[in-house]
Every structure is written in structure tokens, then in C-alpha cells.
């Protein structure tokens, strides 16, 4: 009996279900992707999957295009989100929490529903779907992910630092450039990662908002698995690995900066 209590009382025991979960649903799939990437459908080692990607100009172009769209979305979100976060955190609003809440509110609804609603809105006003609609939809979906971490960092910032900068002779612009902006960098990093990572791999938004006219990298992967049949799985795995590496590099770039030590909210 005592032994049982010892087993169930130990924190180590309680960790096991989670370890199992992680192995089954994270480690194993990653390993499978890795194995599939470097094998052909018959299971022999090959680099053909990679070569196929680099030799297909359509695939490479899609990849570059996806990165560009993701980058553009991130930049637009940053340009729109920073002022919003700044106003919420600094302006003497009577209800900053309510405003923050309103920005977060759309996130309560599944993004697919929101995207479909967006499509209907575009149709209603007879605005053609396409690249513009895609960018609009992505920014609409991911803007809260940019605003929230920046708002968090700005809000936690010691206001006496701003006063100290003023006191030392900085005008409004200089205070922003020399104190507020550098101190909100952790939030900006978090925001960038939160927006860039999911936008690189997005495909549903693209399919819905461009009526499949524009193919993103995510769609390419989805098609490899969904439509290509079993022999395309290896190619799809290779594409997935390439995307993983890109995303991994982004987060590495974010986390490596020492400013990111002071976590900016969501990450």
C-alpha cells in the first residue's frame, strides 16, 4: 500500500501520461516526417524528394511567394498593431481593458468561420477575391496576435522611465525612439513570431479567399498528402521539413535576442 502511495504521490508518475502523449503525437510524427523525407515509397534511402522540390520551379516559386505573403502580413500587422497597442497601453482611456478585449474578441470564433464570413462580405460588396483579399483576410485573422504581446509589454513598462527620459531632455519623438521602442522589442518579437509562423503554413485562408487561384506553400503540402496518393507522401514530408526548418529559424532568431528574456506576453 505504501508503495502504491509512493508511486502515485510522486510527481514523476504523473508526468508519464504527458510523456506518452508527447511521444505519440509530437516526437513520433516528427520522426516519421524525417524518415519519409529521406526515403522513396519503397522505403529506400533517397534525396530525390528534396531534389524534386528544388527542380520544380512552381514549388520553389510557391515557397518564395508564401514567405513573401507571410512577411507582408507580419509587416502590415506590425504597422497596424503597434499603434493600437500603444494607444491602449498609454492613452488615458477610461476602459483600456474593454478595448483590449474587443481586439481579442474575434479570436473566440474559429478562424475558418471568420474567413468564410469574410468571403461572403467580399461577395456582398462585389469585391473580387484574390491577392488583396488574401492579405486582408490574413491580417484580419492574425492582427490580435500582434497587438496582444505588444500591448502586454507596453503596459508592464515602468512609466517613470518615460518621465526619466523627458527629464533628461528627450522630446516626445526621442522618448519613443530611445526608450519606448527598444523596451517594447520583446513584445514585437513575440508578435512577429506569433503572426509569421502560422501565416507561412496557412492554406485554408488562401483557398477560401482566392477561390484556389493562389496556391500557398501550405496548400502544396496539403495537396501532396491529400490528392497525390501514397507515393506523394514522401514529397509532402520533404516540403513539411523545409517549412519546419524555416519556422524553426524564425523562432531561433527571436529567442536568441537577449531582449526576448523579458517575455512579451503570449510566448
Amino acid at each position: 500500500m505504501n508503495k502504491l502511495t509512493a508511486i502515485f504521490g510522486s510527481r514523476r508518475t504523473w508526468a508519464w501520461p504527458y510523456v506518452l502523449f508527447l511521444v505519440l503525437f509530437v516526437v513520433l510524427p516528427l520522426l516519421l516526417i524525417f524518415v519519409y523525407t529521406f526515403t522513396d515509397p519503397q522505403g529506400h534511402f533517397t534525396l530525390r524528394n528534396f531534389l524534386q522540390f528544388f527542380q520544380t520551379s512552381e514549388a520553389v516559386n510557391t515557397f518564395i511567394y508564401s514567405l513573401a505573403i507571410a512577411l507582408l502580413t507580419t509587416i502590415i500587422c506590425l504597422l497596424l498593431g503597434y499603434p493600437a497597442a500603444y494607444i491602449m497601453a498609454t492613452a488615458e482611456l477610461k476602459t483600456p481593458a474593454v478595448m483590449a478585449m474587443l481586439f481579442i474578441l474575434p479570436m473566440w470564433i474559429n478562424f475558418l468561420l471568420r474567413t468564410i464570413a469574410t468571403v461572403e462580405l467580399f461577395n456582398m460588396f462585389s469585391i473580387p477575391l484574390g491577392e488583396g483579399a488574401l492579405l486582408y483576410g490574413m491580417c484580419y485573422d492574425f492582427l490580435p496576435f500582434m497587438i496582444y504581446p505588444i500591448y502586454n509589454t507596453l503596459q508592464k513598462m515602468d512609466k517613470s522611465l518615460i518621465e526619466a527620459a523627458h527629464d533628461l531632455g528627450a522630446n516626445g519623438r526621442e522618448v519613443f525612439a530611445k526608450v519606448i521602442l527598444p523596451l517594447s522589442m520583446p513584445g514585437i518579437y513575440s508578435g512577429i513570431i506569433m503572426v509569421f509562423m502560422p501565416t507561412v503554413s496557412t492554406f485554408a485562408i488562401a483557398e477560401l479567399l482566392t477561390r484556389n487561384k493562389i496556391t500557398l506553400f501550405g496548400s502544396l503540402i496539403q495537396r501532396a498528402f491529400g490528392e497525390g496518393g501514397l507515393q506523394m507522401w514522401n514529397y509532402g514530408a520533404a516540403l513539411s521539413l523545409i517549412m519546419l526548418i524555416i519556422i524553426g529559424l524564425t523562432s531561433f532568431f527571436g529567442n536568441n535576442d537577449d531582449a526576448a528574456d523579458q517575455k512579451g506576453g503570449l510566448l
Partner: protein
């Protein structure tokens, strides 16, 4: 008109916040070049608001602030030749020590060599040489404070404002820093305006002390003036320990308190005027005596430390005796029920019968701020009177002298106000706001929920912040014809 004697002049400055409360109420203060002025007061007294108005972080609602004769009331902080040392240092966490100190100089676009020279000089002044490239987060509180001071003085401001700069440091560190600040002030020749709630710090550091309470300046003076000649009970009570008693100025140089008459050196209060008397516990001489045979006094004074002469003496029994390091602190209860705090190097154990005397120059007499509660009021129907937003019954003989609608003044003696434990039982509700012990009773300031003050004399013990009900008997309300 330029008055170059003063570097900072604060003229009739008031600051009213959005909720209508006055943080500063008609404050005037002039600071000379090179002076070390301390603004002292309890928290919420408006001292920090005054400092922030001088720094430019807050704009006065009325009145003006001059710097070297020039109006700066509305000048933004970055255009004032004034620098601030903040309470929690406010160092920039993304910059190292050097860049923190160089922040102001870089904004002035000075050349690199000058910046390096001046930053090093400033860091040397605060004893932080060799810390230039350290991360500010890796420094201790005391070190961060030094960097904050260096960051301010490197700009060679006309005035250095310090907002409780030592409040976050431990006692030992604070004492060391006090001495260093005093040294720095002497060496730099910059005017220091220093805000603190620590009366000892204020007395140690300053050329002049400004005592503030409730948005008003209570007293401005040198540390010795403030300590030896407080102008009112608040100052006497806030600075150091004191015995504060009700007294009556019989005529010039003669005051009565504790049911006895004493010689003093104060004049100009008129005859038979009620006053407050302050005696510092260390100014009271104490010796063993039962008070019956005064000739025996010499027997108990082998060291000859009791002044000889025609001094009024009074007698009591020691109630408690606490060793305070350098001296003993004793509470002595007189036969007629007054309690005195006495500090002496000699120990007198509880139960000892003692005699006491105080030299005339050590008796500080203060004009009473008020003799009774006084409110503007209006007569109502049925012999009632309205004041403090309530209708009160008054005695018939008072009521019949006025008719409804008359403007009257209500006067209520301090001891005639009744305080009740259960606040619902009172006509008015309020909170104990300030407690002053007057030897044989407490003088309380009760702040009502509407923000009015009622003064109460009581023998009951209340604590600061206690909620009370307020009751006034009809017979205690005196009515006088109003303007």
C-alpha cells in the same frame, strides 16, 4: 522683475486633481541658489506633487513657478534645466551604466570625447568608477541609486530634484548615502530639492526644511528652528518626540499647564489666552523625589545635574522605563493625571517617585489653531439647525433666538462631541484621521464621509482609520449670529 537671489520660486501654487481634491493648496516657496531644501511630510501630504510640478511632470492648476525669475509653469520637462532622481531609480534597463548616464548628454549632441569625460567624472563623483559597462540590472539597490544620481548630475542641472531617493535602501545603506549626498551637495554646488517622509533624514541633510501636511506648507525653517520652535501641533508631533499639552498664556513670559504656572520666554500671545505647549522629552530634568520635602532634592542629585534656581517643579510616578540605546525613555504620570514622556541617561524604575523641571527656554508655546469646532449653518423649522449636510436638534433657548432661514455659526467644544463604536448609531459617520496625545487626553481629527473635519477631545483610545459614528447633544450646540 528679476530676483536673482532665488533660483526657484513657487508662488501660490495649487494643484487640483480630477476628483476635486487639492494635492497642493496655495503653496509658496523660494529656494536660494546652492541651498539644500527638504520637503518633509507624511504620505499623501502633497510633497511629491510639489516636486513633480517643479520637474514639469504635472502642471499647477493655479499659481506659477519661476526658475531664475523666468516663468516655467507650463514649460515641458525636457526644456527645464532641472533633473530628477526618481524614487525607484528609473534606470533604462536596455542600456548599460555608461549609456544610462550618457543619455542626457547624447540628446544634447555633445561630441564623443566630452561625453566620455563627463560621464566618467559623474561616475567618479558617485563612487561608481569601473562600472561603466555593467548591466544596470546586475547592480544592487545602492549602486543603482548612485547611477541614477550620476545620470542626473552629469547634465549639470540648475536644480537637482530628489524624490525619496533613499526610501528603498536598508537603514545602514541609507545612513551612508545620506552622508555622501551631503558631501556631493557641498562639492557640486547644485541646488538640491529633496522630498522625504523621514524626519531624521530631513533634519540631517537640509539647510532648510519645508514641513507639509494636507497640501499646505506648515512651516519652513532650519532644522533647529523646526525642531525647537514648531509652529503648530502637527509639526511638533511629526518631528521627533514631544509632550504636547493644553496651556494658558497668563501674560507675557508666564504660562500655565498641568495645573501649574511656569516661566517661559514667549511673548505676544495676549493675556489668559489658550495655547498649546510643547516640551521635548529630552529637555525635562528628572530626579528622585516624593515632592514632600523639597530640601531633600540635593540628596538625590549627587552629580549636580539639576539646574538650581527658581524653576517650577512638578512631581509624578514613573510608569514605564524603556532602554533606548543611548538614553532611557520613561513615562511619568503626575498626581493630577498628566502623562509626560521623559528621556534621561539615568534609569528611573517604574514606581519611583520623581520630580521634574524644564528650563523656560525649553518651553515652546504655540498659538492654538482653533478653540472649538465651527461650522456654517442655517436655521430650519422646528428648532433644528442644518450643518454638515444634516439637521440637528438644538436646545430651546438657543433655537428661540433665531428664526428659520437665518444664517448662523455653530460652535461645539471639542469635548462635547461624542464618538460611537457603531457608526450607524451616529448622526454622521467618519474616520479617525489624526490623533494627538495631549498628556491627559487625546485630541482627534475625525474626517466625515463628506470630507469635513470635526475635532474631538476624548479619553477613549481610538486608532488611526477607525470608523466612528458622531453624535452631538442638543445642549452642546452653541449658535452665534453668522455673517
Amino acid at each position: 522683475m528679476q530676483n536673482t537671489n532665488y533660483i526657484i520660486e513657487v508662488n501660490n501654487v495649487s494643484k487640483q486633481f480630477e476628483d476635486g481634491k487639492f494635492a497642493l493648496d496655495n503653496v509658496s516657496l523660494s529656494v536660494q541658489k546652492g541651498e539644500f531644501v527638504t520637503i518633509l511630510g507624511p504620505s499623501g501630504c502633497g510633497k511629491t506633487t510639489l516636486l513633480r510640478c517643479i520637474a514639469g511632470f504635472q502642471v499647477a492648476t493655479s499659481g506659477d513657478i519661476l526658475l531664475k525669475g523666468e516663468d516655467i509653469t507650463r514649460t515641458p520637462p525636457h526644456k527645464r534645466p532641472v533633473n530628477t532622481v526618481f524614487q525607484k531609480y528609473a534606470l533604462f534597463p536596455h542600456l548599460n551604466v555608461f549609456d544610462n548616464v550618457a543619455f542626457g548628454l547624447k540628446l544634447k549632441k555633445l561630441d564623443k570625447d566630452t561625453i566620455v569625460k563627463r560621464v566618467k567624472q559623474a561616475l567618479k563623483t558617485v563612487g561608481m568608477t569601473d562600472y561603466e559597462y555593467r548591466d544596470v540590472d546586475s547592480l544592487s539597490g545602492g549602486q543603482q541609486q548612485r547611477v541614477a544620481i550620476a545620470r542626473a548630475i552629469v547634465n549639470q542641472p540648475e536644480v537637482l530634484l530628489l524624490d525619496e531617493p533613499l526610501a528603498a535602501l536598508d537603514l545602514k545603506m541609507r545612513k551612508d548615502m545620506q552622508l555622501e549626498l551631503k558631501e556631493m551637495h557641498k562639492k557640486l554646488g547644485i541646488t538640491f530639492i529633496y522630498v522625504t517622509h523621514d524626519q531624521e533624514e530631513a533634519l540631517t541633510l537640509s539647510d532648510r526644511v519645508v514641513v507639509m501636511n494636507e497640501g499646505k506648507i506648515q512651516q519652513i525653517g532650519t532644522p533647529t528652528d523646526i525642531y525647537n520652535e514648531p509652529v503648530n501641533c502637527f509639526v511638533a508631533d511629526f518631528i521627533g518626540e514631544s509632550n504636547i499639552l493644553n496651556g494658558i498664556m497668563i501674560h507675557d513670559r508666564r504660562v500655565a499647564f498641568c495645573e501649574q504656572e511656569f516661566d517661559c520666554i514667549d511673548e505676544g500671545f495676549g493675556e489668559n489666552t489658550p495655547v498649546d505647549v510643547v516640551i521635548r522629552p529630552e529637555d525635562i530634568y528628572i530626579w528622585k523625589s516624593d515632592g514632600s520635602d523639597l530640601s531633600q532634592q540635593a540628596d538625590y542629585d549627587p552629580e549636580d545635574r539639576i539646574p538650581k534656581g527658581k524653576f517650577t517643579k512638578w512631581y509624578g510616578t514613573v510608569e514605564s522605563c524603556i532602554f533606548k540605546g543611548v538614553h532611557y525613555e520613561m513615562m511619568v504620570l503626575t498626581k493630577n493625571g498628566y502623562e509626560f514622556m521623559v528621556q534621561d541617561y539615568h534609569e528611573f524604575l517604574p514606581g519611583t517617585e520623581v520630580g521634574m523641571l524644564v528650563k523656560p527656554e525649553d518651553i515652546q508655546v504655540m498659538k492654538k489653531e482653533r478653540l472649538y469646532n465651527s461650522f456654517e449653518a442655517e436655521m430650519k423649522e422646528g428648532g433644528r439647525v442644518r450643518f454638515l449636510s444634516e439637521d440637528w436638534d438644538v436646545s430651546d433657548n438657543m433655537a428661540e433666538r433665531f428664526s428659520a432661514g437665518d444664517k448662523v455659526q455653530v460652535r461645539i467644544n471639542f469635548e462635547r462631541v461624542t464618538l460611537l463604536d457603531h457608526e450607524e448609531d451616529g448622526v454622521l459617520q467618519g474616520e479617525v484621521h489624526f490623533i494627538l496625545y495631549k498628556g491627559d487626553h487625546y485630541h482627534l481629527t475625525i474626517r466625515t464621509d463628506d470630507g469635513d473635519d470635526i475635532y474631538v477631545d476624548t479619553n477613549d483610545v481610538w486608532d488611526d482609520g477607525d470608523r466612528v459614528g458622531i453624535q452631538i447633544a442638543p445642549s452642546s450646540i452653541r449658535l452665534v449670529k453668522g455673517e
